[in-house]
């Protein structure tokens, strides 16, 4: 009996802060837009009695979903988000792997400090850190100042307001999410495995691909999913750093919601985004379960 009390707390939390908001969004996605407050119909009115309730349900439909799934803009936005998030995830992996590897091979006394240095940026506001990149990447920003003053380039690079800036922003912001799982799985690798590989005639660079990398795969997959899933729906970074041609679903949703004041369509966009990400989310969850069972 007491077990139920203990499980009840996270259950209630999930219900209150996930399921309820999700159902609110879903309900709005089934509504129609209206110039009213709130800007959608129908409204659920208990005082109208049973007839009112059945009337309410009859007015809900999937019209918005039909709209999104047939419109060119949304298709492109979803696809573009997946591609951009995918490339950004790969770039994050490239940057994070050497860092995580260095951390795992560092002397044991240094590792907690290195870990703290990776997490330290999280102590400052995410928004401010993205703004800081504007200051670095803009035409008269720090990067261009450095490059032109040392004579490496003659014309300033215009990185700001392009997809490249979005990549830089995503890699920077999500780096710790990639480094930490990678570090966790690299750190577990017994160094005598590499010695054994060496002894059996395998030079260090070959041993990396045959022994270290395969053993770090769980960390790689976990890190990639931890970056890809949120990056797909990212809004702030493409909004601040991206250009008008950086099409990402987060921006689309925002403009539907605030510029068009079309809450129902915006909600439908959000629900479809969740469906798109269902596959990687389930994959991630399955993988975590399997890792826990294996006792790793």
């Amino acid at each position: 009996m007491r077990r139920w009390y203990v499980i009840a707390v996270p259950y209630l939390w999930l219900i209150a802060f996930f399921l309820v908001p999700f159902f609110i969004v879903f309900r709005i996605s089934l509504s129609d837009v209206a110039t009213a407050m709130p800007p959608y119909v129908p409204l659920f009115d208990v005082s109208a009695g049973l007839a009112g309730i059945s009337n309410f349900f009859s007015q809900l439909d999937f019209e918005n979903y039909k709209f999104i799934l047939t419109d060119e803009l949304y298709y492109s936005a979803y696809w573009s988000s997946i591609v951009i998030a995918g490339i950004a995830t790969f770039l994050t992996l490239l940057v994070a792997y050497p860092i995580a590897y260095g951390m795992a091979r560092a002397p044991k006394e240094w590792q907690p400090t290195l870990m703290m240095l990776i997490i330290l940026p999280f102590w400052t506001s995410f928004l401010i850190r993205v703004y800081a990149w504007i200051g670095i990447l803009k035409n008269e920003g720090l990067l261009n100042l450095f490059l032109t003053s040392t004579g490496l380039i003659s014309e300033p690079l215009s990185i700001m307001n392009t997809t490249t800036a979005v990549y830089i922003g995503i890699v920077y912001s999500y780096l710790p999410f990639m480094i930490l799982p990678l570090y966790a799985s690299l750190e577990k690798i017994n160094p005598s495995l590499l010695e054994a590989a060496n002894d059996l005639g395998c030079p260090p660079w070959k041993a990396f691909w045959q022994v270290t990398f395969p053993l770090s795969l769980p960390g790689v997959v976990a890190g990639c999913l931890l970056v890809f899933i949120p990056a797909t729906g990212e809004f702030v970074i493409p909004d601040l750093l991206g250009g008008s041609d950086t099409l990402m679903i987060g921006k689309t949703l925002w403009s539907e919601f605030f510029n068009n004041r079309d809450w129902p369509v915006a909600s439908a966009v959000a629900v479809v985004l969740l469906l798109v990400l269902v596959v990687p989310i389930v994959l991630f969850q399955r993988m975590q379960e399997r890792q826990q069972e294996a006792g790793r």
Binding site: E195, A196, N198, D199, G201, C202
Partner: protein, 399 residues
């Protein structure tokens, strides 16, 4: 004619003079005695320091082909460091390592294809099957697939693991993992196999089995095995020769029999088997025998001299428990005898240990087989007994 027993000891070369007692040879195999043979492995003045800590101090050692050689000593004595330098994982601070005539000191482990190591933790690749693990070294050599399959099968047959071929290491027991580690190293047919405490993680029954397995594999393949262990029983069972180490130095290098019967120092005598030591001063010498005045009583003990000692020198007379005769009657001839009281009896079925307190309170251990025909009544606690041994059974130790 008395046979000479030359004993190689790094610490002090002994001039074996007419020593009538040679250690029982285990077989005719003794390449270290043959001046025509060159060692397959030679450590030349090897020193290794880690910062301030000296792990190995100026060790020179020759190991011959087809030997089953043990490096024996307590934790921290430098034996594993010596082994790792041979494998290439540590670089000697000074000195050279010569294998088959070639100086390999600066070669990396993967540049030493004729030397393979079996690790204490086995270090099996968790993401590969047993087959794949064993074939790993062969794949590095660039052998073709069919040849690799044949070799892997051979190796698996040798360690009797064929039905586990497709399993992963985490699906195997400790003993099975140990055999995979052995097969993986053997598959490459190295000239020299290094084993770092290979039997340490096994339970006693498995360990005894595995010891004989190792010896069998070594004989069948003709490989030179060099094993590191802290278990002196293990070393005595499997080795052709043992190198006893203490704090980075080689204390004695000899066959198990020689180390047991003719230890070079109290450290060696104590390390291998049980021993009783009587401290005393040399009071006279004649005909290759010395008289030693015991500090614990007024007895004078006689023993054969094997190395140079001087009158008045403090020496230790070492006697193994099984060489001491224990009896309730005083011995007829009072040379090498001492009286005492039985303090403890350990009955082990086939033998009995007797702990006897003598003279100055020293405890002496005597061993006696429990033969069914005893003339006397069995010896028990608090009995007054006499311990006695022949002059030839003791060894005089100078350090």
């Amino acid at each position: 004619m008395a046979t000479v027993s030359p004993i190689t000891s790094q610490a002090a070369p002994k001039q074996g003079k007419a020593g009538p007692r040679t250690a029982a040879p285990q077989s005719g195999f003794a390449p270290w005695k043959d001046p025509a043979k060159t060692p397959i492995v030679r450590f030349e003045n090897i020193t290794k320091t880690f910062g301030d800590f000296v792990a190995v101090k100026n060790c020179s050692l020759d190991i011959y082909e087809r030997e089953f050689f043990s490096l024996l000593g307590p934790s921290g004595c430098g034996k594993t460091t010596l082994l790792r330098m041979l494998a290439g994982f540590e670089k000697p601070t000074s000195g050279r390592i010569i294998v088959e005539g070639k100086d390999i000191t600066s070669l990396a482990p993967y540049e030493r294809p004729f030397i393979n190591m079996m690790f204490q933790s086995y270090a099996l690749f968790p993401h590969m099957t047993v087959e794949s693990n064993i074939g790993f070294g062969l794949r590095q050599e660039g052998m073709d697939k069919d040849a690799i399959a044949v070799r892997v099968q051979e190796a698996m047959d040798m360690v009797e693991l064929t039905k586990f071929a497709k399993r992963k290491p985490n699906q195997l027991s400790g003993g099975q993992q140990q055999r995979v580690a052995l097969a993986r190293a053997i598959a490459k047919k190295p000239r020299i196999m290094l084993l770092d405490e290979p039997l340490g993680a096994l339970d006693k029954r498995l360990r005894n089995q595995a010891q004989f397995e190792l010896m069998r594999i070594q004989e069948v393949t003709g490989t030179t095995f060099i094993i590191v262990t802290h278990d002196q029983e293990e070393a005595m069972t499997v080795s052709s020769r043992i190198a006893v180490m203490d704090h980075g130095e080689l204390v004695q290098v000899a066959t198990p029999g020689d180390i047991y019967e003719m230890p070079g120092s109290r450290y060696c005598a104590n390390f291998i088997g049980e021993v009783n030591t009587f401290e005393g001063k040399v009071v006279s010498m004649a005909d290759g025998m010395a008289d030693i005045a015991w500090v614990g009583g007024d007895n004078i003990f006689k023993a054969r001299v094997h190395e140079g000692i001087a009158l008045g020198q403090t020496v230790w007379l070492a006697i193994r428990p099984e060489k001491i005769r224990i009896s309730l009657e005083p011995p007829a001839d009072s040379v090498n005898s001492v009286a005492g009281t039985v303090n403890d009896v350990g009955y082990l079925g086939s033998i009995s240990h007797y702990h006897v307190v003598v003279g100055n309170g020293q405890r002496i251990t005597a061993l006696r087989a429990n033969s069914s025909h005893t003339v006397e009544r069995p010896i028990s606690w608090e009995d007054k007994v006499w311990l006695e041994w022949p002059a030839e059974s003791g060894v005089i130790l100078t350090r």
